[in-house]
Symmetry: C2
């Protein structure tokens, strides 16, 4: 291999509310000559970028849970790709790997750093699955469901963003555990997928309900025995409506609040319900719970390989498409896991 | 004893927001002749009524966690008194007992029903203590602190309504467990009591801060390492300010939301913080956790008897004073546990 060119997308300004294309910039930089790699380094060619709602929080300065995305640096994010050069015996050319390479075509990784790269088996599962149902979104679903909600068979669980990368896994895992599962999704085509393909008991098209009262009534119809648990990806009026229909001792795992990510003012309408229903509301981030990843990934990979866990992807093509795809994700334009395929 | 007259206070109409004296009515009814008592019955003369914020929720129709207080019936509530007649060997005339006799001078109780009456030892503790620090409020403090917050030595805990029956116990138990404890109370005299008598590290007079921002800044000054836990009795802007200063993995036990009890509109300003700080917020009611009462009462009674746990009482005199005292309690006019002494 000679000198390669690496295309990257940088964050060049912080969005006020919704990100705009001009918050990002595509640049071309020379890639390190593989012959100059140091011991332990691995050069990865990315096949897929993962686009995830949490990235919006990191684009703000100091208001999110993680270190903010630095300006004028490559957008951070998970990637799946292939080793094209290696200076460590742990990784060989041709290995398929997932890592945290960011919005660029190649990444140079310290392969000796624990967790920096993970080899994945693409003979049983598609490479892209390791960014979705068998990756961070799947682990988020597994963690919130099994460690915070601890669902009981026969109980009623509500999942928002039900057709998405996380919500679709939550609902299917809960069905396998004997729950009645009701999804919320935006649009009839997503709702039909959620019930007909994923096997949820019901799915509410939240776009049909313009206010808290009507959404709450729709939940009541779909959950005649009330709501025992909720896996929350959206927040806002959806969380308010769920709280109105919650049973005593309801548990709400808060994985995302995408309704507020673009800075729209968002309040909780009736926090007194936390007391009245003796509710537990708990926020979590899967990165805090690394010890739970192996058992989660084991269950998830078995279920996907055996066809018991289904997922859907929306794929945009080419690095340059990433900003628009990300903006669409925040607006719910994706259908399932949002990926960027690089070639 | 001949035929006795029993005075009672009934709830005769439901308050819209703040209760008013005319929501209650004092009535005089003949008391059962003790010679007509049935086997198992115990006649108790009340010395003290307990007034508690939770009673406001029960005055509404079907919006609280418990069965609503029925109209035209004796106001429900805990009582401490003395057995004056008994048809069961488990209770003798002269025994001091706590029960759930309601706002009246006497109650006729089925002494064989488990938990209906509990004999208490007034040689080590004052009778009224069993309605406060060694009663339901003390158990609420103990439960929320030890079972939901699980405080670590060196962590910072905030308690609202810090001079009250529950808050005062929370803070002292947390100090014994090695926490830095910051209270919130209304007025300089309450704050001085909280720091000088109860030994809290600091106490903020929330009446000095008219908005979320200034209250949040006051908390920041009192909690330079941030807030790891909060025992919430008030809600509203106090909870919002605590959430703004919360550290990662903060735990909030919600025991009361007195700010919203009188129906004033109340929202949570920034629920996204639940996710950002991976916060756990959990509401609880001590009546749900009867198995924890014995260990809680054991610790609390030892601490009060040995002088390590202090409390303060506000006592109004005569049954007729109960409605005004209760209205004052909801407005924060009490200082410590609010009681009514009947004679």
């Amino acid at each position: 291999m000679g000198a390669l060119v690496n295309q990257q997308i940088l964050l060049v300004s912080r969005p006020i509310r919704e990100p705009r294309p001009d918050n990002f910039r595509l640049v071309r930089v020379p890639l390190l000559d593989p012959r100059q790699m140091q011991d332990g380094q691995v050069l990865v060619r990315h096949h897929f970028l993962s686009l995830d709602p949490y990235m919006r929080g990191r684009m703000d300065e100091g208001t999110s849970y993680a270190v903010p995305q630095p300006l004028d640096q490559v957008m951070l994010g998970a990637t799946a790709g292939e080793v094209i050069a290696s200076k460590t015996p742990e990784f060989k050319v041709g290995d398929t790997v997932v890592g945290y390479g960011g919005w660029q075509e190649y990444s140079l990784v310290d392969g000796t750093r624990p967790g920096a790269l993970r080899k994945v088996d693409t003979t049983r599962l598609a490479l892209s699955a390791y960014l979705g149902a068998v990756g961070m979104p799947g682990v988020a679903a597994w963690y919130g469901l099994t460690q915070i909600i601890e669902p009981k068979a026969g109980s009623t669980l509500v999942v928002s963003a039900a057709s998405g990368a996380v919500g679709s896994v939550v609902g299917q895992l809960a069905k396998l555990r004997g729950c009645r599962v009701v999804g919320l999704a935006g649009g009839d085509h997503k709702c039909r997928f959620v019930t007909e393909e994923l096997g949820f008991d019901a799915c509410i098209d939240y776009k049909q309900y313009g206010d808290l009262q009507s959404l709450s009534e729709a939940l009541q119809r779909a959950c005649p025995k009330g709501i025992d648990a909720c896996f929350e990806n959206v927040g806002g009026v959806i969380l308010d409506a769920v709280m109105q229909q919650a049973n005593a001792f309801a548990r709400i795992a808060v994985c995302g609040m995408i309704a507020g990510y673009n800075g729209a003012p968002q309040v909780m309408a009736n926090p007194t319900l936390i007391l009245v229903t003796r509710m537990k509301i708990e926020g979590f981030i899967v990165g805090d719970h690394l010890a739970m990843w192996p058992p989660a990934l084991l269950e998830l990979s078995e279920l996907v390989a055996s066809g018991q866990l289904k997922y859907r992807e929306t794929v945009s093509h080419g690095l340059a498409s990433a900003p628009e795809a990300f903006i669409g994700l925040l607006g719910g334009k994706n259908f399932g896991k949002q990926l960027v395929k690089l070639h």
